[in-house]
Amino acid sequence: MLDDSTDNAKSMSIIVTKGSLDWAYPPFILATTAAAMDMKVTMFFTFYGLPLLKKKLNMKFSPLGNPAMEMPIMGGHMAMPNLLAVMPGVGGAAGKMMKNLMKQKGVASIEDLREASVDLEIRMIACQMTLDLFEYKAEDMIDGIELGGAATYMETAAKSDINLFI
């Protein structure tokens, strides 16, 4: 059963709309896991999700406007007031802290999960309109992706068992 891509295999599609370090995780975790569970997976990268397909990833993290974000610090948890989060250097420091925490807890990097997505033959579609809008070039993106629009996505979504918007 393991590698059979039979017609009755389950399928999933995800619209990826966010590209910050924290928001890049849910789509890549779910996509790679579904593919590992023999599902056919399609990811459609649009708006701020599109930079996740760039050859060189440069994800930023911001605690700004995220009141639910609490970092574990010395046995407790600390949220960051917006007034602090806007200060120069604070966002970068918080991003570094998040990356360290992830490494320490054995959480995969987005680079690793994206590589796993390619290995697992996940279909990745870059939104052509977003490419035009933000003036990206197809050659800035990793190999093996497709270009497409809303109709391309809808055609896939219409026959998928699971459709997510993240």
Binding site: L2, T32, A36, M37, D38, K105, G106, V107, A108, D119
Partner: protein, 74 residues
Amino acid sequence: MAEHELNAEGLNCPLPILKAKKALKGMDAGDTLKIRSTDPGSVADFAAFCTHTGNELLSSSSEGDIYLFEIKRS
């Protein structure tokens, strides 16, 4: 029937599942895979993985902080 091993200690979700999938892919039907993990979430996840993929979960146990699984490739 060959026996394979996978050490997934220190790895967090979804890495134990992704590494197990990769290992299973290189195995023959009927081979078994012994996995060691430290992720408490992997207990529920390996059960769900096996239910969905049709691979047989022969055993699921723990030794202190280590979770042990044995999967037979379908």
